[in-house]
């Protein structure tokens, strides 16, 4: 066997042993146990060993199965897409900001247009955060200015300038007739007009309706879609300020 082919390791090289637990929507009896073993075999466990079965209420049964996986892993065929920036913890993000900027990173956020749904921007900015991650307000080295909903583009530009924003986050959740696209292009154009070339803040839009690869068309630096967590945004910001600083240096 070449070095690039591996199997799971239980207690002996090549034994292929894995553990697995799952629930089937049937009452616990002999047949249920047979059903569990059938599933395990179809998942490639052979031999499969049913080590635990327990009724959970009248209609469900919980199983723990051990078995040897018949599948081989070929390391040469493993393909991973590397994110262009590393995911940082809040602590590391803070450290990187302090090191790069020697001051706080200023983020101005808003919902623009008629959209009154601040769910997205609040999930990213409010300290409460989203999906178990604290929002950007939680980061010691980030100053957050959340302008809330229905902010006009000129107002957003003015506030970004007044706050010396490093980054502007715009959320568009509920939109009709591509309003999110019009609003975003209008916003990015306004920033390019108001700032000298090369000094426009990092422009980020977020929302479930954007296509993630359309950033260039919309004139923004980054698009974040559904399910984005504050940590991803913070990590991106750190990455981007580092890149920009490198460009200036």
């Amino acid at each position: 066997m070449s070095g690039s082919i591996i199997r799971p390791y239980g207690d002996t090289t090549g034994d292929g042993m894995v553990q697995l637990s799952f629930t089937l929507p049937i009452p616990h009896d002999k047949k249920a146990e047979g059903a569990a073993l059938q599933l395990a075999r179809k998942m490639g466990l052979d031999p499969a060993l049913l080590v635990h079965a327990k009724a959970m209420g009248p209609d469900f049964t919980f199983f723990v199965v051990y078995g040897s996986s018949t599948h081989l892993v070929n390391l040469d065929e493993v393909r991973v897409v590397e994110r262009e920036y590393p995911l940082l913890s809040a602590k590391d993000a803070n450290l990187a900001i302090r090191r790069t900027l020697r001051r706080k990173l200023v983020v101005v956020g808003a919902c623009i247009g008629t959209d009154a749904h601040t769910v997205g921007i609040d999930a990213i900015l409010n300290i409460k955060g989203f999906a178990g991650e604290k929002g950007l307000e939680y980061y010691r080295e980030i100053k957050v200015v959340n302008l809330g909903a229905q902010v006009l583009v000129p107002e957003l530009v003015a506030r970004a300038r007044a706050e010396k924003a490093d980054a502007v986050l715009v959320s568009q959740v509920v939109t009709q007739k591509d309003a999110h696209i019009h609003n975003t292009t209008q916003m990015s154009a306004a920033f390019r007009e108001a700032y000298p070339a090369g000094h426009v803040p990092i422009l980020i839009v977020g929302g479930p309706r954007f296509e993630e690869d359309s950033a260039a068309q919309l004139g923004v630096d980054r698009i974040f879609g559904r399910g984005t967590t504050p940590g991803e945004v913070a990590s991106y910001l750190v990455h981007e300020i580092t890149v920009r600083k490198g460009r200036k240096a």
Binding site: T23, M56, V119, K128
Partner: protein, 538 residues
């Protein structure tokens, strides 16, 4: 709830405890005065809901919102919404509240501020109308007391508290019933992400929510009815919990009272600190909602666990104590009794640090002993749940053990898949097995467990309490240039965690109105007069 009061085991200095309480009282007093001199759009809407105004227009904007907006635009809210509204009804502008609200929505009714005899008549009519809602709350409380007598309370404490959150009330119902059959004593229906920042309450039964289900009157009714069925089946009254927080706190409280919810999440500062809701708005709304909860016999659950998830649980331990003391003070002021105070705390110390379990025991005992007659809401680890479900299961076991050893009243069941997925059916079953094993094996430890005098646990508890007193001293001495109440100044300058929340900022500020001299709100008048003793009539 059966008494969980253990013998005092911490040797706290009674003088320090008294000092802590008197500082909390001192910090709260000016804020209560502010609450008593303001109203909010949500308080006024809640009052109309008590008067029976329900429903929404075709765009699902509730009639209470339409009516309050119309009155505010024409005569302002500083005298309260009910006087101009009932004046309009007495003048024959509309036959009932719903028609009046519909006409007001299209601008077809004019409001005025009546004077003299007409004002008195409008106030009498308003008191009668709103009294009907308070009567519904009283009746719901009597029904609960009757059902608890019939079906019984859980056989032992802590009560087992489980969460359901599918987004679809019709999915929530079978899940909640299954959870009750598996042993849950309290079912909490988590709200949809973002509902706390909606300035209206959605209408009707809802089937689409994000990471939770909308709190609506109809959803409350459906779930309570489903739990009544399962209570009967199990011979044990299963309680229902929702969230009186966010911009509609008073209205949610009113609906909860009328629909016989049993517990409500309700924290005095959570919305300010973690949701950036305006401080004045929060304190005004909170007082009203707590008065309703007091009347309804609802147990509140406070949100101290949030302090520990945003800061280090050892360094910030005293902020939990401070928040508990403030929550207790604001609750007592609003008429809640000790048995209604599910003061929160959580098992969030980093398991990597030495003696983390001893520290948890010290903190849990401190809360237990400071608030001997409160049920206390014990919250499981979330911050140090890493996705390693095996380690998480062990951590939850230690959490359960701490709960058993320190006599907690309400135990929120921890899931090993916390921060991984919404719990599988099997996760819930395993979590309940964990709780049952620990309670069976160790709940008697409250009898044996006496930390030695001046040992690690006693010292740690005393240290946390003295840090809490120091923080309270800083709070009552705080000032700002606007001359705000010290607690507001402290909130503004970031005393609590990392959040700076000035009193003139935050969401919902435009819904705050200073009361005029002639302000009248028949609900507040009745609630200020206290819980009618007959609410607990047999």
């Amino acid at each position: 709830m059966s008494p969980t009061r253990p013998a005092p085991v911490l040797d706290l200095d009674p003088a320090v405890v008294r000092r802590a309480r008197s500082l909390a009282r001192k910090a709260a007093a000016p804020v209560v005065t502010i609450a008593q001199s303001h109203t909010t759009v949500s308080v006024e809407r809640a009052t109309l809901r008590l008067a029976g105004l329900a429903g929404a227009d075709h765009e699902r904007i509730p009639w209470v919102n339409h009516l309050v907006t119309a009155v505010r635009d024409e005569v302002g809210l500083e005298h309260g919404v009910t006087t101009p509204v009932y004046d309009a009804l007495l003048r024959g502008e509309a036959p009932d509240l719903t028609t009046l609200a519909q006409m007001a929505a299209s601008g077809n009714v004019s409001f005025r501020l009546p004077a003299g005899r007409e004002a008195a008549a409008a106030r009498r009519a308003a008191a009668k109308g709103v009294g009907a809602g308070l009567g519904r709350i009283d009746a719901a409380r009597r029904t609960r007391e009757r059902l608890v007598r019939r079906h019984g309370d859980p056989a032992s404490t802590p009560w087992i508290y489980l969460i359901v959150a599918t987004g679809d009330i019709y999915e929530d119902i079978p899940q909640a019933q299954a959870a009750a059959r598996e042993g849950a004593d309290v079912i909490a229906v988590i709200r949809s992400t973002g509902q706390s920042l909606l300035d209206y309450i959605p209408e009707g039964a809802t089937r689409e929510g994000f990471a939770g289900t909308y709190a609506t009157q109809e959803n409350f009714r459906l779930m309570r009815a489903a739990l009544d069925d399962v209570s009967k089946e199990l011979g044990r009254y299963v309680r229902l919990t929702n969230y009186a927080s966010g911009l509609c706190m008073p209205e949610i409280a009113a609906l909860a009272g009328m629909e016989r919810l049993d517990m409500m999440l309700n924290d005095s500062m959570y919305g300010i600190l973690f949701r950036d809701i305006n401080p004045i708005r929060t304190f005004v709304d909170q007082r009203f909602s707590r008065q309703i909860h007091a009347r309804a016999g609802i147990i509140i659950n406070t949100g101290e666990d949030n302090y520990l998830t945003t800061a280090d649980a050892v360094e910030a331990a005293h902020t939990v104590t401070v928040s508990q003391l403030l929550n207790e003070r604001f609750a007592k002021e609003a008429g809640l009794e000790d048995w209604q105070l599910g003061l929160g705390h959580a098992f969030e110390i980093n398991p990597e640090i030495p003696d983390s379990f001893r520290l948890e025991l010290a903190h849990a005992l401190l809360a237990r002993q400071l608030f001997p007659d409160a049920p206390l809401k014990w919250m499981p680890p979330t911050k140090h749940m890493t996705g390693d479900i095996f380690r998480g299961y062990l951590l939850d076991g230690f959490f359960n053990l701490a709960g058993a050893m320190t006599g907690q009243g309400i135990l929120l069941v921890g899931m090993m898949t916390e921060a991984v997925v919404t719990p599988f059916l099997s996760d819930r079953d395993l979590a309940l097995q964990n709780v049952r094993y620990v309670m069976n094996a160790a709940s008697g430890l409250t009898e044996d467990f006496h930390p030695p005098r001046d040992g690690f646990i006693q010292n740690r508890a005393r240290q946390v309490l003295s840090e809490a007193v120091e923080l309270l001293e800083r709070i009552v001495a705080d000032t700002d240039s606007a001359g705000d109440a010290p607690l507001l100044a402290a909130i503004a300058d970031g005393t609590f965690g990392l959040m700076k929340r000035p009193a003139d900022r935050g969401k919902g500020l435009d819904g705050v109105v200073r009361r005029a001299d002639g302000y009248d709100n028949p609900a507040i008048t009745a609630l200020d007069a206290g819980v009618p003793a007959k609410a607990a009539r047999r």
